[in-house]
């Protein structure tokens, strides 16, 4: 795959076997690529589960096409059974959150981008980094096994509320519920190992001249995300272990009959869960910032505000968890406090949207595929963020909580937001990963079709949520008040099928371009980041000599750039002086 020239860095290693080079690799770039392939697989799994959900909601009681291959425990005469339906909604959420979006944003891009963008040769702890990938893969396989063990997959929602999750006799999920806890503990370990690397590397290994406020926003976002992860994941691990103990060794953490509290689960889960959703959006925001600046040929508008907004979102994200629990029976006064913090967190998000617009304002916009998807991100994330305000206002949450309105909201921020950002990031850094370009033409077609079908799928969900359709229900048509909205459910399902089908354009583009894509020039996007000083694909060890950093990351159209409209961080102008290197860490490279 890589033809690596004989450089001094290479001399540090004896020639590596295929296994050490590509499978059990400690190279952050290979690890990032491994995360990419595995996570795209889980994204596909999540999508297949969603298609079945939409079939049942659009056409309740009709046999699923191809349903004949599923076992009797899941379907009867091809018709999805209620116990399988709730497995579908549970595992769709679980796979998408934990094994698709989180690893795609963090596992891939934290690993791939951080050392490249700050000018160092690898992560601080390469071997721990390798373990982080293998543990994530193991966790994913354990979770997948839930469908194949007796009694089937967990089915208490991706939120796993107790007591339903703690009582196999009430949920029906036996072995798989325990596997869930084990998978989460393993995944948490993977996350913490990764975070430790990202934080340490950014603090200690920035190249000379890479001051904190010269780091690209993608790196800032990944840094803050890593701090969130290292503090939040252990809380979920703890809760998962408590849940496991309730099922296995006779504890009663969540069992009110024996002095436990069902609400304890919710507090623990959401104390993790809310920072988790910021883990799922901040890296996306960071990468979108890099791409919009590039596409606009302008510095990011309000760089410092953007940094403080990221920090503000992350900080506030720790004190809003109760907004998932407004209806839970917790003290209403707590509801008031969480409402205030939740409404406030809209402010830094708004700041970011306005700054992206400010970046595009008076720019010289290039609509390459990453830029199109980044603009799509801003457009969709705005809708998702605004729809959240309805639920933040506690009285309005009363009719909307646990309806399709919240499903619309979360998909606008996670798909319209995070996934569109990934559709921007993947082609953007593809040349750096694989030395080739993804097809622009297929990419543009994919963007436009996805944008259209995406909105056709998820916008109407706001309406059926307002109408009162509850979450996770197998058949809306048994309710008279929901029957009039069923045509909209059908419309959503057809749109969803089309949306899913269109994603095969992306998948094809991704796979086909690996071997047949146009060979990439060194800096195809005329970008300023440190990574573009390297050949494509980037070689093992990155730079043979630690590079110097001469300016901030967004000096597009700077006067010093002359007739070019970009000015890379690594480019030394005659007027630049070399930065003073930071003292070496003891025992470091």
């Amino acid at each position: 795959m890589t033809t690596v020239a004989h450089t001094p860095t290479e001399a540090h290693h004896a020639p590596m076997s295929f296994w050490r080079k590509y499978i059990f690799s400690t190279d952050h770039k290979i690890i990032g690529i491994q995360f990419l392939f595995v996570s795209l697989f889980f994204l596909l799994v999540g999508g297949l589960l969603a298609m079945q959900i939409r079939w049942q909601l659009g056409f309740p009681g009709k046999p699923l096409p191809g349903g004949g291959i599923l076992p009797e425990s899941m379907v009867s005469g091809g018709v999805i059974l209620p116990e399988y339906y709730i497995q579908l909604v549970t595992m769709h959420g679980t796979f998408m959150v934990f094994f698709a979006i989180m690893p795609l944003l963090v596992g891939v891009y934290a690993n791939f981008l951080i050392p490249l963008k700050i000018g160092t040769h690898d992560m601080a702890f390469p071997r721990i980094n390798m373990w982080s990938f293998w543990l994530a893969l193991l966790a994913g396989l354990i979770m997948l096994a839930g469908f194949f063990v007796p009694d089937g997959a967990p089915r208490a929602g991706w939120t796993m509320y107790a007591p339903l999750s703690a009582r196999p006799d009430l949920s029906g999920a036996t072995i798989s519920q325990k596997l869930w806890s084990i998978s989460i503990v393993v995944l948490g370990l993977s996350s913490v190992m990764g975070s430790v690397n990202y934080i340490t590397t950014i603090i200690n290994h920035r190249a000379p001249g890479m001051h904190w406020f010269r780091m690209p926003l993608s790196v800032w976002a990944l840094f803050i995300t890593a701090i969130l992860a290292v503090l939040a994941l252990p809380v979920l691990q703890g809760a998962a272990i408590m849940l496991l103990f309730d099922q296995t060794i006779g504890t009663h953490f969540f069992d009110p009959g024996a002095g436990g509290q069902p609400l304890l689960w919710q507090h623990l889960f959401w104390f993790f869960g809310h920072p988790e959703v910021y883990i799922l959006i901040l890296p996306a925001m960071g990468m979108v910032s890099d791409i919009i600046a590039n596409g606009s040929r302008k510095p990011i508008f309000g760089y410092h505000s953007m940094v403080f907004a990221i920090i503000g979102i992350a900080f506030l994200g720790w004190i809003v968890w109760g907004h998932h629990m407004f209806m839970s029976g917790m003290n209403p006064t707590l509801g008031s406090t969480f409402m205030v913090s939740t409404l406030l967190i809209a402010v830094p998000s708004a700041i970011k949207v306005f700054n992206w617009m400010g970046t595009m304002w008076r720019g010289n916009l290039r609509f390459h595929v990453p830029m199109l998807n980044a603009i799509g991100f801003v457009s969709m994330f705005t809708i998702g963020g605004l729809s959240g305000i309805f639920m933040a206002a506690t009285p309005v949450d009363i009719p909307l909580h646990d309806t399709q309105f919240i499903v619309a909201h979360l998909h606008y921020v996670l798909f319209g937001g995070s996934l569109f950002a990934l559709f921007a990031a993947i082609p953007y850094w593809y040349p750096k990963m694989f030395g080739r370009m993804m097809s622009e033409r297929i990419g543009k077609l994919h963007f436009f079709l996805t944008f259209i079908f995406y909105n056709m799928t998820f916008f109407p969900m706001h309406i059926i949520g307002m109408g009162g359709q509850m979450r996770r229900i197998y058949d809306p048509t048994i309710y008279d008040f929901l029957k009039p909205q069923q045509p909209l459910n059908v419309f959503i399902s057809y749109s969803a099928f089309a949306l899913f089908a269109v994603q095969f354009l992306f998948l094809f583009n991704f796979l086909w371009s690996l071997k047949r894509g146009k060979k990439a020039p060194q800096n195809p996007w005329e970008d300023n980041g440190m990574e573009w000083s390297l050949p494509n694909p980037a070689p093992h060890g990155n730079w043979d000599k630690t590079p110097n950093v001469y300016r901030g990351p967004y000096e597009f159209s700077a006067p010093e750039a002359g007739d070019k409209d970009y000015l890379p961080q690594y480019l030394k102008l005659p007027t630049d002086r070399d930065p003073v290197p930071a003292p070496l860490p003891a025992g470091g490279h």
């Binding site: 392939f37 795209l40 697989f41 596909l44 009681g61 291959i69 599923l70 076992p71 009797e72 425990s73 009867s76 005469g77 018709v79 059974l81 209620p82 116990e83 997948l144 469908f147 194949f148 006799d169 029906g172 197998y474 058949d475 048994i478 796979l511 690996l514």
Partner: protein, 257 residues
């Protein structure tokens, strides 16, 4: 790369297919009455018969309010009641599960009949309410109502299960692997729905009819203890000796409480 992904996805499907489990799903043949097949016994054996009744006043069976299940309510002309105590003329007691609890020579094995017992959910009630099966015999659970029933089996010696049938004409076949008296079946959507299954390793069991009578046939010579189980009145036992092909009578009386 493409191949790698396809082979993994394909492998996933293969695994799913391989775990398909017990048999194909068939549409239920329309059956007006649930079929309780007679056990496969030798006509040359002896018979224990009897009549089961109770003394005292039977508690009233609570009325079932099906107002919120219109499709089931429509199947009744009078208000249905629960079947806790089904009394016949002269305090005859139905739905008593009678079985040989001791006396069958050790080591004797019996083949379960090939015909299934049909458990029908119709009018939001189980038909039959009490029945017996042999270990390994098929129970075909069928939904004759156009709405969700779930069948939750609460068992101690057998593996509990909980399956749903959201639409009419869905069927599911289950079997029990261990003798157990009784396995409780319930529907959680309709809290009044209960059925009771006696799982036995031999064919020597019966359920008392509307006149309280029961009959256990095909018994080889020996001394037998029979136990009668009723869901409200508990259990009673009796001892009967069979010498040849005669019919012996053992009447059983419960005290109402």
């Amino acid at each position: 790369m493409k191949g790698r992904i396809f082979s993994v996805v394909g492998g996933m499907f293969l695994l799913t297919v391989c775990s398909k489990g017990d048999g194909t799903v068939q549409a239920a043949p329309p059956a007006a009455q649930p079929v309780v097949p007679t056990a496969d016994v030798s006509a040359a054996g002896g018979t224990i018969t009897g009549k089961i009744k109770f003394t005292g006043t039977a508690p009233r069976n609570p009325a079932i309010d099906m107002s919120e299940e219109a499709a089931c309510k429509a199947k009744y002309t009078t208000t249905p009641t629960e079947e806790n105590v089904v009394a016949g003329p002269a305090n005859a007691l139905s739905n008593v599960f009678v079985y040989v609890s001791a006396g069958v020579p050790a080591g004797q094995t019996f083949t379960a009949p090939a015909t299934a017992v049909v458990l029908d959910q119709s009018g939001c009630r189980y038909h039959p309410h009490v029945f017996g099966v042999m270990v390994g015999q098929n129970i075909e659970i069928k939904n004759s109502d156009p709405l969700l029933h779930n069948i939750k089996a609460i068992a101690k010696k057998n593996r509990p299960f909980n399956v749903s049938q959201p639409n009419a004409n869905m069927t599911k076949t289950v079997t029990f692997a261990a003798p157990e008296v009784m396995v409780n079946l319930e529907c959680n959507v309709h809290g009044w729905m209960h059925a009771y299954v006696g799982v036995r390793p031999d064919p020597f069991f019966a359920v008392s009819g509307p006149d309280g009578s029961f009959s256990i046939k095909g018994l080889p010579p020996g001394t037998y203890t029979i136990e009668a189980w009723h869901e409200k009145f508990g259990t009673q036992t009796a001892t009967v000796t069979i010498a040849g092909t005669e019919t012996k009578t053992a009447n059983i009386t419960f005290a109402a409480h």
